[in-house]
């Protein structure tokens, strides 16, 4: 799976979680740039990504992430295993 394919998949998940069908997600997107990205929606995002991509995250991995690009880096590592 390519980086672009992951970003497209993640964007669909963001649109579903935030109920905003025109939402554009970029690698630099984070909780400062997406208004409704609160702690509960963060949990919902992680759950949805885990289910959609069939991967699992540890809490320590997630706390180090600063934006969507970091998340995609982590996903690429997990999907390569």
């Amino acid at each position: 799976m390519t980086r672009e394919e992951i970003l497209n998949g993640v964007q669909e998940i963001f649109r579903d979680v935030f109920d905003e069908e025109d939402l554009i997600v970029e690698e630099s997107s984070n909780s400062d740039t997406i208004e409704d990205w609160d702690s509960l929606n963060h949990i919902n995002l992680v759950s949805a990504i885990e289910m959609e991509f069939g991967i699992r995250f540890a809490l320590g991995e997630l706390t180090a992430l600063k934006n969507v690009g970091d998340m995609i880096d982590l996903m690429l590592k997990k999907l390569a295993k």
Partner: protein
């Protein structure tokens, strides 16, 4: 009340309970919500619209999803975080409902579980289904 801790929970864990809808529940829900739509309070009106009796509030029956997670699965340590409900059949006073929930997913990092739930009437017909997201607090 059940008191499942996060480590006790696994995908496939299921709990259920049974309750019967009566007029006092309808009256109490009317008092709380103020929803006096005639479909729920006027049997003649409901019959004129094609139902056999006044229709029980969908959110009254859905309140049992709260009971499902708050009392049964996981019970004591529950923190309700999300609920998505689809209604499929009307419910009437006197109906006996079975509320069933099964754990379908566990988010280990944030101690959140997803429960697929459904409500069946006494004829085993599904009257609603729900996807419920629940946080499990530390014991």
């Amino acid at each position: 009340m059940n008191d499942y801790g996060f480590s006790d929970i696994y995908v496939g864990l299921e709990e259920s309970f049974v309750t019967t809808i009566d007029d006092s529940m309808m009256k109490n829900f009317l008092d709380i919500s103020g929803d006096n739509n005639p479909l729920h309070v006027n049997a003649d009106y409901a019959k004129d619209k094609g139902f056999s009796d006044k229709v029980v509030y969908g959110l009254l029956t859905s309140s049992f999803y709260s009971t499902l997670v708050g009392v049964y699965l996981p019970g004591k340590y529950c923190l309700l975080q999300g609920l998505n409900i689809q209604f499929s059949k009307p419910v009437f006073c006197g109906d006996t409902l079975k509320i069933i929930g099964k754990v379908s997913y566990i988010n280990e990092a944030y101690k959140q579980i997803e429960i697929k739930a459904r409500i069946l009437n006494q004829k085993d017909q599904k009257v609603s289904r729900a996807t419920i997201k629940v946080g499990v607090m530390d014991e």
